[in-house]
């Protein structure tokens, strides 16, 4: 079975600038892939080619096995899209907007209204569904944008900065929704500048810099391969120098640093198996370990190092 999103030699040239340079990439089915890169790296251009907002100079971009560059109408069928924060026709209500989008996609009025109700409830927009969108805040429009992308029960959802413009509570709610969608079996491809968001939501990442993919793969594997799997260990007993030295000597430990007398940050080599082995070795030290968590900072560090190295 083909991967839901496949880019092959995708290139976009604007005059002297090569915005996307022979990009090859695959997004696995049911994965939540974060698409990272600094401003001007080619992130938005790639998303715009995938969503028919711009034409590729050469190469192919497949959605569910159909090349967007050749037959975008059928390629985008069954794909939900939110690119930038779209504006809506101010003379329509969210309900009417869903009807417009649904009818374009071939849905019956009954199924549009039924799915619409479900989405309005999920997005906490039920009471706003019959109000004209003209006066909505950016956050409300962002919710409607996500809603319309899910209207056709798509297999793939492409999102560009989905929490942009939301207040902190809105961000948390949006992340919860996205996380739930992924567990329901959707393939989500999301660009974001927010490293924390990517580390919390995504199981895969692709990092683009100067139009080229410089790293791609499973988040844990990428962190492990680059020695960036980092965990924070909280203890009820003070972490002595002796204990820290012992921990540093474990084969899978790259580095261990005490953050406070009762907290340390440990950088691990390897993947899940190595982390499990580390925990087995840690418990007998009787430090009173009561909490262990992944450090979100590790993905950020990996990203910064990879981008720095490529320059």
């Amino acid at each position: 079975m083909t991967d839901p999103i496949v880019l092959e030699g995708l290139t976009k040239v604007y005059g002297d600038l090569t915005a996307v340079d022979s990009v090859d990439m695959r997004v696995k089915k049911n994965s939540f892939t974060g698409f990272l890169g600094p401003n001007g790296a080619g992130k938005s251009t790639t998303l715009k080619i995938l969503t028919n907002l711009t034409k590729a100079t050469s190469g192919s971009a497949y959605l569910n096995g159909i090349d967007v560059t050749k037959d975008f109408k059928h390629a985008l069928h069954n794909v939900g899209v939110v690119v930038e924060t779209p504006e809506f026709y101010p003379f329509l209500t969210p309900k009417e907007t869903f009807r417009y989008i649904g009818e374009i996609n071939g849905m019956s009025k009954e199924s549009i209204d039924a799915k619409g109700q479900e989405l309005f409830e999920m997005l906490k927009m039920t009471e706003w569904q019959d109000k004209r969108i003209g006066e909505f805040s950016k956050g409300m429009k962002q919710r409607i944008a996500l809603g319309q992308s899910l209207l056709v029960d798509p297999e793939i959802v492409i999102l560009d900065e989905p929490t942009s413009g939301l207040d902190p509570r809105g961000m948390v709610e949006m992340r919860e929704i996205l996380s739930n969608l992924n567990t329901e079996g959707l393939t989500i491809f999301m660009s974001s500048h927010m490293m924390y968001e990517v580390s919390v939501l995504c199981d895969h990442v692709a990092i683009i810099e100067r139009g080229r993919i410089i790293a791609e793969g499973d988040v844990d594997e990428l962190l492990a391969d680059n020695g960036k799997r980092r965990i924070e260990v909280h203890t009820s007993k003070e972490i002595s120098d002796q204990a820290l030295e012992l921990i540093t000597s474990f084969g899978m430990v790259n580095n261990a640093q005490r953050v406070t007398p009762y907290q340390m940050q440990v950088s691990l080599a390897g993947g899940d198996a190595e982390q499990a082995e580390f925990l087995q070795k840690l418990i007998p030290l009787e430090l009173g370990v009561y909490n262990i968590s992944s450090s979100g900072a590790s993905l950020e560090k990996l990203y910064l190092e990879l981008v720095q190295d490529s320059r």
Binding site: K48, T51, N52, L53, T54, K55, F72, K73, H74, A75, L76, H77, N78, V79, V81, V83, E84, T85, P86, E87, F88, Y89, F91, L92, E96, Y100, I101, E103, I104, N105, G106, M107, S108, S111, A145, Q148, V152, D153, P154, E155
Partner: protein
């Protein structure tokens, strides 16, 4: 299981329906109807107020009223066509509609159908009112009045194409509207006049052809009147004008579509 995608024509009709809804919920229709009403009321009431009788023969009567026909066509193109494409870029609604599984050709066709339909209905309302007034005051409707309506609808088609052409290239809807209005009301007529002063027949001009909706009721269509020292005044022939307007509609629409298809957000 995803629903089956409608064909391009069905999608164009969907786009047209929602585009018409935009006009029904906006103020532009009201503005147009008010202006149309104002023209009719002033033309009908002013002679009575001034103690002058309205013409009692149908040709003179329709000549008086239909002298405003081309201005109304230009106004309709300005209000209902000029912003149609530009607004998708200016207000970023393109991010919503361009990412749907619908060809730009279908969206363009839907918008064009809506703009033409709304303009055509508005102009037809004006003509219907003129016919009714003519019937009430002169007792009949001039046959050339119906030909004039046909030419007016062709002019609406050409002006809609011209409005779409400028709208496809402009980044702001207001700029497109001002340009459409100024070009059709001032720039092209000035060029027509300059050509006539040089004894060149501007039969190919959209505004010259559009004016035929008036010449057909004055009975001057097809005439050339020499103006010693100032060239000649040409009154385009009806069939030529109809063909020119159809050509303008086709050409401007094709160029507008090509631009709209390739223009990026």
């Amino acid at each position: 299981m995803a629903p089956q995608l409608p064909n391009d024509f069905s999608q164009a009709l969907t786009a047209a329906r929602y585009e018409i809804l935009k006009y029904l919920r906006g103020r532009k229709l009201l503005v147009f109807l008010l202006l149309t009403g104002l023209i009719l009321v002033l033309l009908t009431a002013a002679p009575y107020l001034l103690g002058v009788d309205l013409p009692d023969d149908p040709r003179s009567f329709m000549t008086l009223y239909l002298s405003f026909g081309s201005i109304l066509v230009i106004l309709a193109a300005t209000l209902f066509s000029a912003d149609s494409l530009a607004t998708e870029y200016e207000h970023r609604t393109g991010f919503l509609v361009f990412t749907q599984p619908m060809k730009r050709e279908a969206l363009f066709a839907g918008k064009f159908m809506a703009s033409f339909a709304v303009s055509a209905v508005m102009i037809s309302i004006f003509y219907l009112a003129v016919y009714l007034l003519s019937l009430a005051i002169t007792g009949e409707v001039l046959n050339d009045g119906y030909t004039s309506l046909g030419l007016a609808l062709l002019y609406v088609l050409a002006a809609t194409g011209f409005g779409f052409l400028l709208s496809a290239f402009m980044s702001r809807a207001t700029t497109a509207a001002i340009l459409v209005f100024a070009t059709l009301l001032l720039v092209f007529p000035i060029i027509d006049s300059v050509l006539m002063f040089s004894s060149v027949d501007p039969w190919f001009s959209i505004t010259q052809a559009g004016e035929s909706l008036y010449y057909v009721v004055t009975g001057q269509a097809g005439e050339v009147v020499p103006m010693p020292g100032f060239g000649d005044v040409y009154y385009s022939e009806v069939n030529t004008s109809a063909a020119v307007l159809a050509a303008w509609a086709a050409l401007t629409s094709i160029i507008a579509l090509l631009k709209f298809k390739t223009r990026e957000l």
